[in-house]
Amino acid sequence: MRLLNRPLGRLSRYRRGPVAGLLVVLMGLVLTGGLYAAFSPASAKVDDSAALAKEGHQLFLVSCAFCHGTNGQGIKTLDGNQLGPPLAGVGAAAVDFQVGTGRMPAVQPGPQIPQKEAVFTPTEIAELAAYVATLGPGPAIPNPSDYSLDGLTDEQRQQAIAQGGQIFLTNCTACHNFEGSGGAMPKGGYAPKIRGVDPKYIFEAMLTGPQAMDTFSNGNLSVEEKRDIIAYLQSIQNNPEYGGFGMGGIGPVSEGLFAWLVGIGSLVGIAIWIAAHTARSSKQKVEL
């Protein structure tokens, strides 16, 4: 105790010194500020998202407003079609999907906006998403825990994959093919291939229904059901192709037709080629 008391004892000699009061006030301020910063993360986050949205609005004005309007209200063409649809209520998930997969900003209007290299950095996408989320309540960007199978036992995983397969075959295969290879849609549209797509984007596509796709909101297919679909897709993606190179799951009739026309057709062609070509010599046989 004496050892501890000694410096304090010495320090206490200055308690009535000219700077003592100032020092105490300073220490109090630092302590209060530090404690406030440590215990008020919520308000700090709100400030962060507002700042993000502000940055996002600047990006939006430069890159999106031409089609979607300066306030995201949407713009109609002269003949009544949408140049860009209104964005109120599409939510951060829609922005993260459209911009993250490179579909937005679109290069040109058309029956379907194709996927391409993403133009914006992840930070910029987060800013744009934060801005569009302020236009109206809509689906937020899903948490990785929503679509991850971590923390499940092996048996639960198998159950999730089996259940996901059933839900996928009922809800998704009509457009996206039974192994997720995609397919054609009316008037130049197409359902894209969904094998090898980031689970986050599959989840967001179901939530928001990009382009002509129906939405599968959380009230329609629950978060677990979406997770199961994604688990199923990943399981078929990891399956080796037992029979050799696949043809994109185009179905038995088309694959059989391919085998008949291309396979047997080329065999017939080779047979004709062999019969039509022969090596002949100009020399005469020398009788020995």
């Binding site: 397919g183 129906d214 909101s217 009230g219 329609n220």
Partner: protein, 368 residues
């Protein structure tokens, strides 16, 4: 006939030995193959054929080796993303067959005999003496069997053959019995249920059958669906469990048959998008419910475009307008898609007010 053609017939049209305008050049001189005239080429061809046959041997050995080496089952070996066993077996077998085939072709074309052979044409009919002999045999058979002299035997044989023809016709009975009114209603109609299903319904104490999600069987609240949502749904009795045994009440063939008629889709749109009065009256807050079975040949359809509310059948591209009583917009379907009258039950879940008012699925004989 033109005058500058050579005279080929006399006045009585009997053929003459034609005067050939050009002399018959005969067959061209035989050209030898390199293997016929060059002993070195012959040796080389021999070695090629032998090497191809040896390659076939190697292929077979490889086949046996890959059968032994590569693991199959739950965690098979892979090459790239391909199943290693199937790939190796296939490639080795292909090498064997290709080696043997190519070797034989090479052998036949380079080393086996190489002559031109002339085969002269002859008349297609048999010589007259052969024809007469055959007719004689047939006549003898007819006389010795006595078919003409013994009408009793002939007629009873004909009767036996005729009755034999009835057997396949009797077996056509298996195609029946006729479906009756089975095609006119679906499992949405509670009055057509089996006693077990009725007993289960008594325990539910409700009057309207709910529309539930396919696969999971959960009921749907109006507030759960957002505009643009598409739900593949079924009548709730499909998922009914026996209160005691906890076993499904509808199962097996019965389940498949009922499902193939009763499956529906729900789609929520802005009520202002709805065109026809029937569709509006039978919807709940913009949620419409249609049969999932195409009216052309009965494919299940859920290929919907959210933006246009057009439902497309993937089999033959029949397109139906969900805003307008399922009107056919395009394709071979002749009837609109039947709409199910939707309502909300006491607990706020979507339910069917009644069965479809017309038969679902493809047209059939009795429907007219």
């Amino acid at each position: 006939m033109s005058d500058n053609l050579p005279e080929t017939t006399r006045g009585d049209h009997s053929p003459v030995a034609a005067q050939e305008p050009l002399p018959d050049p005969g067959l061209p001189a035989h050209q030898w193959r390199p293997t016929d005239v060059d002993p070195k080429a012959e040796k080389r061809a021999e070695r090629q054929v032998a090497s191809l046959f040896l390659l076939a041997v190697l292929g077979s050995i490889g086949f046996i080796a890959s059968y032994v080496v590569f693991k199959v089952g739950d965690h098979p070996d892979t090459i790239g993303n391909l199943g290693a066993s199937n790939l190796a077996l296939g490639v080795c077998l292909a090498v064997t067959l290709l080696g043997m085939g190519a070797g034989m072709i090479q052998w036949a074309r380079k080393l086996m005999g190489d002559h031109e052979i002339v085969e002269m044409r002859h008349t297609a009919s048999s010589p007259p003496e052969d024809r007469e002999a055959t007719l004689g045999i047939l006549q003898l058979g007819l006389e010795e069997s006595g078919l003409g002299r013994r009408p009793l035997i002939r007629n009873t044989l004909l009767a036996a053959g005729g009755v034999l023809g009835l057997l396949p016709i009797v077996m056509l009975r298996d195609l029946g019995p006729l479906p009756g009114d089975k095609l006119d209603h679906t499992i949405w109609d509670i009055s057509t249920w089996t006693p077990e299903m009725q007993a289960w319904w008594q325990t539910q104490h409700r009057t309207l059958q709910r529309v539930v999600r396919d696969v999971v069987g959960t009921p749907i609240k109006v507030t759960e669906l957002e505009i643009g949502d598409l739900v593949n749904a079924e009548p709730e009795v499909m998922f009914a469990l026996d209160p005691e045994t906890k076993q499904p009440i509808v199962e097996g063939t019965e389940l498949l048959v009922d499902k193939s008629k009763a499956a529906v889709i729900l789609h929520r749109m802005l009520p202002s998008d709805i065109v026809s009065t029937q569709t509006l009256n039978w919807s709940v807050d913009g949620i419409v419910c249609y049969s999932k079975i195409c009216t052309h040949v009965g494919c299940p359809i859920s290929l919907n475009e959210r933006t246009t509310h057009h439902l497309l059948c993937p089999c033959h591209q029949s397109t139906f307008d969900l805003t307008d009583s399922g009107r056919v917009l395009f394709g071979p379907a002749a009837r609109p898609l039947p709409q199910l009258e939707l309502t909300v039950d006491d607990e706020g879940y979507l339910a069917a007010r009644r069965d479809f008012t017309e038969p679902v699925g493809p047209s059939f004989w009795e429907r007219g």
